[in-house]
Symmetry: C2
Subunit: 413 residues, 2 copies
């Protein structure tokens, strides 16, 4: 926790000293909105529009099918994968971009379980994102295994020689709790199991060191802190040592060791190319490729420093000025256990969230009682975050949100 | 077969009488290229550029996460699915758009096999597209079944009480042979098995009547005759009668009956919504949605009529003037057995294809000896197709292509 007092003046000063201040110019941000939902959908990088227009008008429109060669669409998934790899501590040739996170998680879980024949249990976080739990069940069903849900803190009590795979998210999507990937991975390996990490809420926000911690598999999405756009493709990391043995279930022709021979039998490529499936969504992937150029100019360590300063500000504000409204900080206070978001528990959190959106601050609500605020240091200023908290204080103080105006809940992902 | 003589004059006349002539204006086509590869990647519809720019700049850039509601991104996959449904004879609520064709085929095959417990065989076309064969093997491996490859013509000899599922493509991707979906589906049902159709080479080119023929499942891609753009998302059809029982293996949260409760256990939606998986590629899907508006103005029957007239022209030309170069028409001559492409077998087909591309006619090569020409009636003129054949005749007559200039083969998908 920062020991500086929370004030508008301190926020202005923090902006003046912000080593990432320049990065805001790399984005197109709407005026009159303070966007604290980059952990659902990252804002639009300025490089995307021109890149997509070029993809559509020139590459598709003029060069048509020849673009698979002349614009190297064929290697786009691997090139984007390697770019993402640099942000998650993966040396080249271990990350493939494509499909949705769900599909990638299905690939990872199935391949990992197959590498531990005779072991019958998948351990997953019972508070983890629903898809992660559903897919553990789906894979267990197909491979006749069993899923045990637990709190990651209880891992030691559940690890046994019967555990094949442990699958956790690095950051809890609701509370923002950050788990110790190195310690957990080592613990899982000591039990002879394999570790699958879900990086949806950490890639691009938190330095991740997949190679260094000896992770086995990892997946993630690119539309949150990587700013790749709505539904931008997911990614799959397979550690170098598993690349020749990982038996991925979705055997599309792009993953074949010799795809253009169009042979009858599938033989996986002896490299990360085996993680390809079918024809990738080139438009969405070109947008992501352009979005990732933002990271050519910034260091993840700087992003992490500013993220912690921003969440310090929010936590300090909430503790000192919002407790009177029944607001409780759910996100861990310790820096080494905190992701890039702050979850605030409060009465009528859904209505407060809606009222706050009406006042130009976009955050989101998570069942049953959490206001979840996400912080992307690349485009957020300290003064904006301070202003957002002032508006939250106003909403809570005014109290009008509870008059039934938000009785009919709308869909927000 | 048309009985009209093949001539430049007849081609000009055909264009004058072309009821689809207006549709060419709905596309952005490169000058100086005759594009006979719309069965690999359809050309760019004029509506796409503005739709994608709006998606990026306004919906994503300005409205950010709220676009899931205000621009109804949430229902985009189902809306696009229904649009595709109209082109494949499916009443509303049976087609979902998303992911790649490979993923959709995995979903369909797995769900279909699960509906025939106790039966152990998947029948698939041994000359079918490689992914279709690979995924049959992959599903068989997971469910402990067996794949038998056959020629669709031998189906009667292979159908037994042990066959769970038959999976064929409606059009052979190499030869262009069109199969009788109604007769085959009925035959498969009489044996108590389920039928999965791959419509990659028919959707948008050939009237398909999934409901009428009582198909069980179907999949397809949208980047060929639907012109959705490179890697545009695939689709999955599930017949109404199977919607509550189809157990799809990829259980992402978007397919949950109540996704926003974010509950721990997966319960599939009791509708086509269960075919959703994770967050869809909104950019690619918005491009596809715009591309499909072309079909609001044309009838599939008209497309089919013109397609047959174009392939008649090509076949007539090949038979009368290219036989002397060893060219053989592989595609069936009978209209009711012909897709929207013509495959010509010839010596040095790869080199001829490359030389033809160099002379402004884009077709493609298929191993080992086929020049494959695809015909999209929406944007092809008869005079262009006639001119393309003249250039092919020139290439064959000149013979220079065999001098080693194309010895190093490049990737073309």
């Amino acid at each position: 926790m920062s020991s500086e007092p929370v004030s508008a003046e301190a926020a202005r000063e923090a902006d003046e000293n912000d080593e990432l201040a320049f990065a805001r110019e790399l984005f197109r941000l709407p005026e009159s909105v303070i966007y604290l939902d980059g952990n659902s959908l990252g804002a639009l990088p300025a490089a995307v529009g021109p890149a997509v227009a070029d993809l559509v008008d020139r590459q598709w429109g003029e060069q048509l099918i020849t673009s698979w060669n002349v614009n190297d669409w064929w290697r786009l998934p691997g090139r984007v994968g390697d770019r993402i790899g640099r942000l998650i501590g993966a040396a080249e040739g271990q990350v493939m971009c494509g499909d949705s996170t769900s599909v990638q998680l299905f690939q990872a879980l199935t391949a990992a379980c197959r590498m531990r024949p005779g072991r019958s249990i998948i351990l997953t976080d019972g508070a983890g994102f629903p898809t992660d739990q559903y897919l553990a069940d789906a894979v267990a069903d197909l491979l006749q295994l069993k899923v045990v849900r637990l709190n990651p803190g209880e891992l030691a009590t559940q690890l046994s020689e019967d555990v094949a795979v442990v699958a956790f998210s690095q950051v809890d999507y609701r509370t923002g709790e950050l788990f110790d990937t190195a310690a957990i991975t080592a613990q899982v390996h000591r039990a002879g199991a394999l570790m699958v990490w879900d990086l949806c809420h950490s890639a691009g926000a938190i330095p991740v060191e997949l190679d260094a911690i000896e992770a086995d598999f990892a997946v993630g999405c690119s539309y949150k802190y990587l700013n790749g756009g709505p539904g931008a493709p997911g990614f799959l990391y397979i550690a170098q040592r598993h690349l020749r043995s990982a038996a991925l279930p979705l055997t599309g022709w792009h993953g074949h060791r010799s795809p253009f021979t169009l042979s009858q039998r599938y033989e996986p490529a002896p490299s990360i190319e085996r993680a390809r499936i079918g024809t990738p969504p080139v438009l969405s992937m070109a947008a992501l490729a352009a979005a990732l150029t933002v990271f050519d100019r910034v260091e993840l360590a700087a992003i992490r420093r500013k993220s912690l300063a921003l969440t310090d500000l929010v936590i300090g504000y909430a503790q000192s000025r919002l407790a009177e409204f029944g607001v409780e900080v759910v996100t861990p206070l310790s820096h080494d256990r905190r992701g890039s978001q702050v979850a605030l528990r409060m009465p009528a959190a859904y209505e407060v969230c809606q009222e706050l959106i009406g006042r130009g601050v976009i955050g989101d609500f998570r069942e049953p009682d959490l206001l979840r605020l996400g912080f992307t240091p690349l485009y957020l200023r300290f003064v904006d975050v301070y202003e957002a908290m002032d508006r939250l204080a106003d909403v809570l103080s005014d109290g009008g949100y509870a008059d039934g105006r938000y009785a009919s809940r709308t869909v927000v992902t």
